[in-house]
Symmetry: C2
Subunit: 377 residues, 2 copies
Amino acid sequence: MRFTAKDNIDIAGHRTGYGSPAWRDTHPAPVHNALCVDQLLAAGARCVGKAVADELTYSLDGENQFFGTPRNARAPDRIPGGSSSGSAASVGNGLADFSIGTDSGGSVRVPASLCGIWGMRPSLHRISEAGVLPFMPGVSTVGILASEFGQLDAVARVLLRSPTKPVAPLRRFLVLTDGVEIADQAVQVQVYAALDAISRRTGIQAEPIRFAQLVGEDIPLSDCNLRALRDLQTAEFQSTLGNWVETARPGLGAALSMAYGNVRDFDRIGALDSLTRCEWLFDRINAALPEGTVICFPTTPCIAPLKGSLTTLDAVTAFYTPTMTLTAFSGVARLPEISVPLLTVQGCPVGLSFAAGHYQDEFLLAALPEILAPGRC
Amino acid sequence: MRFTAKDNIDIAGHRTGYGSPAWRDTHPAPVHNALCVDQLLAAGARCVGKAVADELTYSLDGENQFFGTPRNARAPDRIPGGSSSGSAASVGNGLADFSIGTDSGGSVRVPASLCGIWGMRPSLHRISEAGVLPFMPGVSTVGILASEFGQLDAVARVLLRSPTKPVAPLRRFLVLTDGVEIADQAVQVQVYAALDAISRRTGIQAEPIRFAQLVGEDIPLSDCNLRALRDLQTAEFQSTLGNWVETARPGLGAALSMAYGNVRDFDRIGALDSLTRCEWLFDRINAALPEGTVICFPTTPCIAPLKGSLTTLDAVTAFYTPTMTLTAFSGVARLPEISVPLLTVQGCPVGLSFAAGHYQDEFLLAALPEILAPGRC
């Protein structure tokens, strides 16, 4: 199988650019591949290229003013989503069978959803991050984008170094109704149509559950993002790339300059309660997802925005806030999540995500074919 | 409470040295504290200094030819152990109430054991590593050294951001007999004397268990280190500091030069099976440690070697091999482990370690006073 690697994953002898010319030009080429790259090469895969990333991987757009916007094969006038934009595009356009990217706030899942391919964010820290540039150590994962389930499954098992052991059978299949309600009306209709199709094909009926039921407290799903993960992300970004931006003073692109202002001004001390909130949410969500349980929700609330449309604060907010509410659920709970290219709205793809409890990656990989039935994978 | 921070943990405005003059002089001072430092400051602790680390933290000795050997207060003619050597010394000599260090192969637990203080390696990735220099992403943790249990407990709960929830009662207390047998004869005697004292005081009887029983396969305890964690550590070190050493070509101290030769020549592809082995061991060990179970073994197999004695390959091997066999158990299984200053041999301290399952940090902190009885903590 041919694969590409996102521009924050080391390939020996080639500078790792982090989506930033300033970073690329001030850091020497690594001598070693990232460990995950060597795992893939040793398993027989062939690396055919490095893939463009959003600048410093701090974006979900897929537009990079220095390196261009990778082509969304299924919707060429629309953004591919990011920050693993080139990874998704290389798979979507058939240049690679799969790609490895990274996902902190949705950077694998969002481009997978918007480009109509498979994307997996594994459990936090299940795949080695040695040779992957440090971003948000308590949030970032290596992830996989692929054109078919069989490829995703094979690659995941190599990278996860799965012990051969029996996994639990599927016992419970949930749909997170608040997650569906955040999505555009047309996406909601497609989600329920897909669940109906699953039920007709396999007899597996999705049981609706609200976020408040899941965690046992009357709080909205948006709390995963707004009062929890988002603050951890920003604080961690300050301590990794924030230090570099403040000391190296690189020229930043327009989009990152706007986003970075919030990082620079972020009150990390005032936000420490959010870190405690993350642990609480991790604990509650995982208590509700014992092995045998799969939960489903749309990966993104909408199809890909048009290229060049995310230029005003209103447009950015309208795309990011609901998207990150969805992606923060697995983020804060450190869940494995797989985005499946099941939905189509206005001729454009949207992913339907399936998640399981923390460290239940192998169970999730085994349960998916059962839920989707052979014809779909 | 006054605390110090190991020299690989960012303090804003001060260069982070990584125990290496070459690193310190080529990297600017960070603008932000490490996130864990800000958590402690916000909780009211006062940072009184940066603490010496072994060069690039790649050692368990505590001897640094550039910055000197921090004083082992309980055994001044002996090494303090490393790589959180200055952290242990600052606590042992009363300059700080606690210190934050890091632990990949024992760098918190070993100096705690050899200096006669408390030391905790939490579950892998439970404490944010933002602002902590990247070392071995799949192995490294932030850890705590303290002079008393009450301090350790308070600091751990701040850094772990523990959700308030009931923990399981202590149901099973195990002693890992292979772990005891690795230790020097005099240490073995002290371990069993300590367990007898516990049993007399509290009625809690340690149940002996062998490693093979624990994992359900007839393999030795040393497999945690030799065919598993050690290879993951070396491969990850190549992809973080190895790239820096190969491209920046810094002058390395004598001890690190010797150790680094093995890193440079390491065949990471040939060792990929060890990564799979790590996952298998993680899985098996944790299956045997459900919440409610504590397992105990000596932290180190011996008291601190004399200063300047680890200069030959034989001496290094005699110290490192059994020590890392003990530390690799929690390392590979990502367990929380607390070293308690309970043993004395030839007037010098040795720690007795207590570990619990992955992510059961709060259970372990609650179970320890019960096992040790009020008088001991």
